[in-house]
Amino acid sequence: MTVQQSLRLSHADAQVIDVPVDFEQAIATQARRPSEQKSRGLSLTIRGLRKSFGSNEVLRGVDLHIPAGQFVAIVGQSGCGKSTLLRLIAGLDAPTAGTISFGEETRAEDIRVMFQEPRLLPWASVLSNVEVGLGTDRTSADAKARAESALTEVGLAEKRDQWPSVLSGGQKQRVALARALVSHPRVLALDEPLGALDALTRISMQQLLGRVWHDQTFTSILVTHDVSEAVALADRVLVIEDGRIAHDINVDIARPRQRGSADLAALEGSILRNLLGPGADATGL
């Protein structure tokens, strides 16, 4: 058994280790979590989606189906339309043409967005910032308890009475995540939520995102410019070019994924070549 395999085992279910099973088989089932376990997420179908700002056509016909509970990453160069696509999915902007339909009837609380900036209310305590995420349930009797459990989920329960201004950038983003999760959304749209964080904080946030997605089984759509983040977290990576989906890549790598492992690195390299052209992932030295 290689070092890498033993690390994977340590993350796996204790019961799985006790029973003598085919090791490759154990990893394979883990990788296909959405089909194994019933997902709370919503499926999403997009047809002929276009969006123009004035004469500038940002999205030029996007067709896409996302199964319930899938983790999709959207990558692409700046200005390719990836954030626009996310804003349309989240219902923040109206499309110029085309349709977006979810598998079932949705409430506003079912779809939540997280931005690059935490967008916390500086004049509200951490806890009441999380309560904002309950939407129309804000006034219900258990609002505080639900907000507290969401804060605990992101590991910031002890900061509940603090002002946001005393938190670090990563902590603020965790509060924003708690706010997005407190209504138990079925779709979480993430617009470069980790883009402004330092490298180490970003890695621990990625782990947190991966964990809550795994536990709460929502459909997750992550816009990022960081290809290694995309392959570390997602089931599927979409590369957007000139307002269209240029590549649709399945990330068929077992979870929990080992940061820096050869298969992740190889996939990252091939996506970067797709993005930037052949030889572009070389450092240029």
Partner: protein
């Protein structure tokens, strides 16, 4: 904010007991120098009475009840005028900050009126109202209106649009959005307006009472000038300074209470 608060290393040497008194050191020194200059005859009593003489004049007026009466009249005019002008300014600031239509309708007009010095209206105001209470209230309200209007408007317009979008995404109704996002966001700017307005409030009142009044601190000072009671004149000026300080402290206290989330008001 003093330099002491900026330098954390220096701050750790600050003696907390002296902290509240530090601000009074300079006024006290001025008072002592002033007293010394008068006692030694360096400054003639006709030009400037000694602080002790001013205190004595104050005591006499206090005994006769005249002082309390005049302070009360001035205080009443100041606060009622402030409330009237401040509320109207706040209302216009809200309306024009929240509604494009309202802003298009009234902002240009208000900006034109703003550029007329309100004290220049005194002759007109005397013709309109005579020298009774409404004249003073009108002037104070007019003076207070603009700083509160402008700063409320500015505060509302500069609320982070990303926070407003966030509020909408999380399903806030218009009134909830106002209560939870727009008003708290505008509050620091509104307080700047309030403090400007307090300064203008006293200025307007002093001028109005000096020119056209039959009671109040300004009137008391003008009466004293008629009778060459220079100690009473100086006393009135000192009381204005003190009242201005009280008003400013009150607004600061209110600021600290409502803006405790703001990094500038956090205790370290």
């Amino acid at each position: 904010m003093s330099i002491v608060e900026i330098l954390p290393r220096v701050r750790s040497f600050r003696l907390p007991r002296i902290d509240g008194l530090t601000q009074w050191i300079v006024p006290l020194v001025i008072l002592l120098v002033w007293q010394a200059a008068c006692v030694t005859g360096y400054v003639p009593a006709r030009v400037m009475p000694a602080p002790t003489d001013v205190a004595l004049a104050g005591w006499k007026l206090l005994i006769s009840g005249e002082l309390a009466q005049n302070i009360w009249v001035s205080f009443w005019r100041a606060s009622v005028g402030f409330l009237i002008g401040g509320s109207i300014g706040f209302a216009f600031g809200l309306a024009n900050g929240l509604s494009q239509l309202s802003s298009k309708l009234t902002d240009t007009t208000l900006q034109m009126v703003r550029n007329v010095p309100h004290l220049a209206l005194i002759p007109l105001v005397i013709l309109w109202f005579g020298i009774d209470e409404s004249a003073k209230l009108f002037l104070v309200a007019l003076g207070v209106f603009f700083p509160i209007y402008l700063n409320t408007l500015h505060g509302i317009r500069t609320v982070d649009p990303q926070l407003i979008e966030m509020g909408r995404i999380y399903g806030m109704s218009n009134s909830e959005l106002f209560r939870r996002v727009i008003f708290p966001g505008a509050l620091p700017s509104i307080f700047v307006g309030v403090r400007f307005a307090l300064g203008i409030m006293w200025l307007t009142l002093i001028v109005a009472e000096t020119i056209a009044a039959s009671s109040g601190l300004g009137y008391m000072a003008m009466q004293a000038r008629e009778f060459m009671q220079i100690d009473v004149v100086v006393l009135s000026i000192l009381i204005y300074a003190l009242l201005g300080k009280v008003a400013d402290s009150a607004s600061r206290g209110l600021e600290r209470l409502t803006l405790s989330w703001h990094p500038a008001f956090q205790k370290h």
